[in-house]
């Protein structure tokens, strides 16, 4: 067996094995690239102000702040990512889709009308049709997420050219992304803020190019999402 393996590493001697060696090299190269993805450092913090807990009939909604005239809205895919992560796994919780919630409770969570603080909740809950709808959908916790991912630094240069002989790039690019999000958790039953969870992640991506550009992408936003969702789930269910 060992002998056979050694033979396979000598392309040209056995044409049938040449393809296999090529495939193995490509797989090894792809694995190497994947393992060399940009590094991400993330930190999560929580502040608890009251005890929490959820029953099977309770649900939660994750909302992005859409206040005006801010130009720093939380990305829709980040909200979707946190919602999806909360709704899966061993301790999955019932998560209501953000748009479905805004439509079900329209117009009370639009940018113009959404409650800015928990002291605005009693007035909203005093409307019978609203409190009835919230009971129907079993909403217990409302989580507001503030923050975004921004590019904080970038450098390097890359030149690409196309000639009759072919195309290619040469150079090196690097950029740094910074994700900073804070979730404020409102308990609709008590009408109070029960705590805050923040997630920060920073990572640098690289793209060297010698003929072919090779991106080593740091998944900063994804890391912040996973950390935040994990901590939120723990905060709500183990409170």
């Amino acid at each position: 067996m060992i002998h056979s393996h050694t033979e396979s590493l000598q392309p040209g001697r056995n044409p049938r094995l040449t393809g296999l060696v090529s495939t193995a090299r490509t797989a090894l190269f792809a694995t190497l690239i994947a393992s060399l993805g940009g590094c991400v450092t993330s930190t999560v913090q929580e502040v608890r102000q009251a005890s929490t807990g959820m029953t099977e009939s309770d649900s939660i909604v994750i909302l992005g702040r859409r206040d005006r005239p801010s130009n720093d809205e939380t990305e829709l895919d980040f909200i979707d990512c946190v919602s999806a992560n909360l709704g899966k796994g061993g301790t999955a919780v019932n998560v209501i889709n953000e748009q479905a919630f805004r439509d079900a409770i329209f117009p009370w969570f639009e940018p113009r009308t959404a409650p800015a603080k928990t002291s605005d909740l009693p007035e909203l809950m005093a409307t019978p049709v609203v409190s009835q709808r919230l009971q129907e959908i079993g909403l217990r916790y409302l989580v507001w997420i503030d923050g975004s991912t921004v590019r904080t630094d970038s450098g390097g240069s890359m030149t690409c050219s196309v000639t009759t002989a072919g195309a290619g790039c040469f150079g090196f690019l690097t950029w740094e992304n910074d994700s900073s999000y804070e979730a404020s958790i409102w308990d609709l039953r008590s009408g109070n803020t029960v705590g805050r969870v923040s997630s920060d992640a920073i990572g640098t991506s690289y793209m060297p190019a010698i003929v072919v550009p090779l991106p080593f992408i740091a998944r900063v936003q994804n890391s912040a999402c996973t950390s935040l969702a994990g901590q939120l789930k723990s905060f709500i269910t183990n409170g």
């Binding site: 809205e73 990305e75 829709l76 329209f106 117009p107 940018p111 409307t127 609203v130 009759t164």
Partner: protein, 225 residues
């Protein structure tokens, strides 16, 4: 062989140059979908509200030439019927569509709402140096009694924005559509909170005999989902 290759290269170069030049003359045309307006969740007012949508509102199309950035067209008119029908269905016990302002007196309605778009504006991310498309709509709202007399007139300004980063390759059309849709939703939200605060509306509501809500909500006319 070499000649054929050069001809091919020349053709590709010309095509590329034309594409770059044509980019400046590009027209971006979007239409606000009429199917995405929720019905407001609120205590219905016990009155019969007529709704008349003028032809110019139903066909309203905003067009602006931004020179090198291209021409932008936003078709907002076709969505207005669904938007106002859903809005009034959520706010009033009965909604009565009116097809002609002359026939207001024959309608079984306590008043007729007539909205018009007075002005529309938008901005691109290039103009504001942000990631957002923004849309502003100024409506002129008028409430008529059955005799065709204006009871109340007021302006309603709505705003919507959408982040290009939320759409694949930061593409223009879906972002601009979402910004216009958000402006329409904002108009609905603003109308619901503003309507009862208008002094003229308050007087009219006090003077109007309230009607009983129908036993089956499905009998309310005009709801569009």
């Amino acid at each position: 062989m070499k000649k054929i290759h050069r001809t091919k290269l020349l053709r590709h170069t010309v095509t590329l140059l034309l594409a770059v030049l044509m980019a400046g003359c590009m027209t971006t045309s979007v239409e606000v979908p009429a199917t995405q307006f929720p019905v407001p969740l609120m205590q219905k007012l016990p009155v019969r509200m007529g709704l008349y949508l003028p032809e110019e509102l139903r066909n309203y199309e905003f067009r602006q030439d931004l020179g090198d950035a291209g021409v932008f067209e936003i078709e907002i008119g076709p969505a207005q019927e669904a938007m106002f029908t859903n809005l009034l269905t959520g706010m009033f016990v009965k909604v009565v569509p009116a097809s002609d302002p002359v026939t207001f007196d024959t309608l079984e309605a306590d008043a007729v709402l007539v909205p018009r778009i007075a002005e529309m504006q938008f901005s691109t991310p290039q103009q504001t140096r942000t990631d957002y498309y923004e849309v502003w709509i100024r409506y002129d709202m008028a409430l008529y009694d059955q005799d065709g007399t204006v009871l109340v007139q007021w302006p309603l300004t709505a705003y919507g924005k959408a982040n290009t980063q939320n759409y694949l390759l930061a593409s223009t059309s879906p972002t601009l559509t979402q910004a216009a849709l958000n402006a329409c939703r904002d108009a609905m939200a603003f109308f619901t909170v503003q309507f009862q605060t208008l002094p003229g509306v308050q007087q009219w509501l006090q003077a109007t005999t309230p009607i009983q809500p129908p036993t089956n909500p499905a009998t309310v006319q005009g709801g569009t989902s």
